[in-house]
């Protein structure tokens, strides 16, 4: 029998098994849909809006009323309550009723006339997405209040000619993601982060199950059969990758700067690498449950190490090495360049190399170990 026919036979055998076993099928059907759907729905607001803010108004002046009105008008903020005491505001923040506290201290107006007015903004840094929105909006509010003060108040009491625009004017823009939407950045990364964990669980289960149930005896795998079985999962999860990309790039409108073909090549290379790692884990432990536990350890924290949200270049040497051996890190780099920044294809495709390398380095010994275990009945049935 030719390689292609043995591959096809193994593919159909796996498909028939999944058709009979709904819980195994769940791992590549409704579970990815539910989990990716939850993330997509939760983050669909994208740009955080109407975050509740408490105003501590220790002055009760025209200035504090002006700031209150501007907070109400800011797109990202909502004035949830106005209190006179900082302790009261802190209690609201601890209870989660407000995300930030704006403090207008006593005598703020008098100090503002002297050019020394200070407004303090307390933000909850644990909510990094929310706190950056609040800081941006508050900076704009204070700049606007300053401009008004300069024109209406200070100009009246200052010598003529002394009210001038600030000497350096800074324009900040975010390239490639103009609304600084967290939806594009987070969802585009969280979907593959979920998919690669589910993929690895499905592949470890598919190959581990044959050893556990001693069905390798009937299957009699060779390299073609291994490829045929893995191909079904690679295809299924690439379909999910394509669907989630279509949702975000098409339906939600976060158009891709580069091309979808490169992204799909990235998905393919990432899944090939995780398939290699899965085989290696099984070849080493010859035990499905232990391989699944190790999968959790290996793939469970990839999102933290990918360097996409928090940069890992400043982390410890161990963390940097660990990040490099996780295929997801390289996929995240490819995704950022292909989807968000639109780098030239040569630069954006560069992460395919390490992905291919991980796939080869793990799949070659993994296949050898797995095929050896498949011929040794004493390695079957381990739990």
């Amino acid at each position: 029998m030719s390689f292609a026919r043995r591959l096809g036979k193994s593919f159909r055998r796996e498909a028939a098994f999944l058709a009979r076993n709904p819980w195994d099928l769940a791992l590549l059907t409704w579970l990815p849909l539910v989990l990716c759907g939850l993330i997509a729905w939760q983050l669909s607001a994208g740009v955080v809006r109407d975050l509740p803010v408490a105003l501590v108004d220790a002055e009760r002046s025209a200035l504090s009323r002006d700031i209150a009105i501007r907070i109400e008008g800011a797109p990202g903020l909502r004035l949830a309550s106005t209190v006179t005491d900082m302790g009261e505001a802190e209690a609201l923040a601890r209870a989660g009723a407000v995300e930030a506290i704006v403090l207008v201290p006593p005598e703020a107006t008098r100090r503002a006339f002297a050019g020394q007015g200070q407004i303090t903004l307390y933000v909850n840094a644990a909510h990094s997405a929310a706190s950056s929105t609040i800081q941006r909006d508050m900076a704009a509010i204070i700049a606007a209040a300053n401009a008004r003060e300069a024109v209406e108040q200070i100009a009246a009491v200052s010598p003529p000619g002394s009210v001038r625009p600030a000497p350096v004017k800074v324009t900040s823009v975010i390239a490639f993601n103009a609304p600084a939407s967290q939806e594009q950045q987070l969802v585009s990364l969280l979907h593959p982060a979920l998919l690669h964990i589910l993929f690895m669980l499905a592949v470890v289960s598919a190959f581990g199950r044959e050893l556990r149930d001693a069905t390798v005896a009937a299957w009699q795998p060779d390299r073609a059969a291994l490829a045929g079985k893995a191909a079904l999962y690679v295809l299924a999860f690439m379909a999910w990758g394509a669907m989630m990309t279509a949702y975000l790039a098409g339906f939600r409108g976060w158009a891709m700067a580069g091309g979808p073909l490169l992204l799909m090549a990235g998905y393919f290379a990432m899944f090939a690498a995780y398939a290699g790692v899965s085989l290696l884990l099984l070849g080493l432990t010859r035990c499905m449950s232990q391989s699944l536990s190790l999968t959790g350890l290996y793939a469970g924290a990839s999102f933290a190490f990918a360097g996409a949200i928090f940069p890992v270049d400043q982390a410890s040497g161990f963390a940097r090495v660990w990040a490099e051996v996780l295929p997801f890190t390289h996929f995240a780099r490819l995704l950022a360049m292909d989807w968000i920044t639109g780098a030239p294809a040569a630069a954006a495709a560069a992460p395919l190399m390490p992905l291919g390398l991980i796939a080869v380095v793990t799949a070659v010994p993994g296949m050898w170990l797995y095929l050896r275990a498949a011929e040794r009945p004493q390695d079957w049935g381990r739990r």
Binding site: W23, L27, L31, L35, L38, I39, S44, V48, A93, R94, A95, G96, A100, A108, G115, I119, L121, Y122, A125, H127, A129, M138, A145, E149, A150, I154, A155, P159, G161, S162, R164, P167, V168, T171, V173, I174, A175, N177, Q182, I197, G208, R209, M288, S289, L292, S293, G296, L297, A301, I309, F310, P311, Q314, A315, R333, M337, G342, P344, A347, R383
Partner: protein, 381 residues
């Protein structure tokens, strides 16, 4: 009851996969996870600069930018287009562009314009680079004002100054903001996967739904709670201290009281789910993938205010959501139990509801002696 309690531990020690999940994972994750954030603050984000003005003032601005701790100048480029290609290829997180005429505008009493461009590919990194550069520009602005003053007399200073302070997470590190919450997701997942694996194994051996006496059920619940509490103490008592995260803000008895409710609700849900599995490996297959959505639903990094309302309600069905609110609040924010009355009530309702369902599942149809206990006693002997 104590026989069942001991049997659970005997079963864990006899099962390498269960021991890895229940005792190995909390230890490994306590090392692995914080290491990803060991940089804590963003320093040395790669930044490129485009100086089209080539004046003394613009060179001064470049020099100041280079001295900012969040910034590492990686290249000086000749056009904005070139800077864009550096950002696109992910070789830089931000670019500073000084247009021609910057120095002249300042000298003439107008505003010298500077453009900061952050990369949308890394919002956190580029925004901290921009914040750092912004601070450097403020000091430049003061000097520029001084230069202007010589020609045109002093300008009125801005009336109001905004000072931003972190509310609770006083170090403003990313790890310090995230890991104190992640730890409780780890506790939840470790307990769920470890105990469901044991229950699935026992049911597989029995070939029928597990059934225990009410006293045995109490023993199971106590064992589950003991393991979860030990993990909570490990993270909140040791790991937070070891990693030097903000911790111990509330009195110890309040932290323990909050932790007890989280542990009770988690153990109840875990026992309920554990009774549903018929195969040893199934909980790992289906349960490992939910950690990431659980973490996002908990509202630690994505505020509930920005989450669709139905999902906010759904999130309340998992002990991790109110659990993180209470534990992060007590440990890191310095709240008291009274501040979290709603979340504590949520945990209590979950503990009672899941506990009642679990009790019904485990003790019906008739209290047989479970081989889960018998089998594990043999294995443990």
């Amino acid at each position: 009851m104590w026989a069942a309690f001991r049997a659970v531990f005997a079963a864990i020690f006899a099962d390498r996969a269960a021991a890895l999940l229940l005792f190995g994972a909390p230890i490994l994750y306590a090392v692995l996870y914080p290491s990803a954030y060991s940089g804590e603050l963003v320093v040395d984000a790669p930044v490129v600069v485009v100086d089209l003005d080539r004046s003394g003032a613009s060179r001064d601005l470049v020099r100041r930018t280079a001295s900012v701790s969040q910034v590492q100048l990686v290249a000086s480029l000749t056009s904005a287009r070139e800077a864009e290609s550096w950002l696109a290829a992910d070789k830089a997180s931000a670019a500073v562009i000084i247009p021609e005429g910057y120095a002249r505008a300042i000298a003439e009493g107008r505003s010298g314009e500077v453009m900061l461009v952050g990369s949308g590919a890394h919002l956190l990194r580029s925004s901290s680079a921009l914040t750092g550069i912004g601070a450097a520009l403020a000091s430049t602005a003061r000097e520029a004002a001084f230069d202007q003053a010589r020609a045109a007399g002093p300008a009125a200073p801005p009336a109001l100054n905004l000072v931003t302070r972190p509310l609770f997470n006083t170090r403003e590190g990313y790890g310090a903001a995230v890991f104190p919450g992640v730890a409780f997701i780890i506790v939840h997942q470790s307990l769920l996967l470890g105990l469901a694996l044991l229950a699935g194994t026992a049911r597989e051996r029995l070939g029928a739904p597990l059934s225990v006496t009410p006293a045995q059920f109490a023993g199971l619940g106590l064992a589950a709670s003991t393991i979860a509490m030990a993990q909570v103490c490990w993270f909140a008592g040791f790991v937070f201290w070891w990693q030097d995260y903000p911790r111990g803000a509330a009195p110890l008895w309040q932290v323990l009281a909050g932790a007890s409710l989280f542990v009770a609700a988690t153990a109840a849900l875990v026992l309920l789910l554990a009774s549903l599995f018929r195969t040893r490996e199934r909980p790992l297959q289906l349960g490992l993938g939910i950690s990431l959505p659980l973490f996002f639903l908990s509202g630690l990094t994505w505020p509930a205010a920005a989450t669709p309302q139905p999902l906010v309600w759904l999130a309340r069905l998992f002990p991790t959501t109110p659990g993180l609110e209470v534990m992060v609040g007590l440990n890191q924010m310095g709240g008291t139990l009274a501040d979290y009355a709603g979340a504590l009530a949520n945990l209590a309702v979950l503990a009672l509801a899941f506990g009642a369902l679990a009790f019904w599942k485990w003790t019906s149809p008739q209290p047989l002696r479970s081989p889960f206990l018998a089998g594990s006693r043999q294995a443990g002997a």
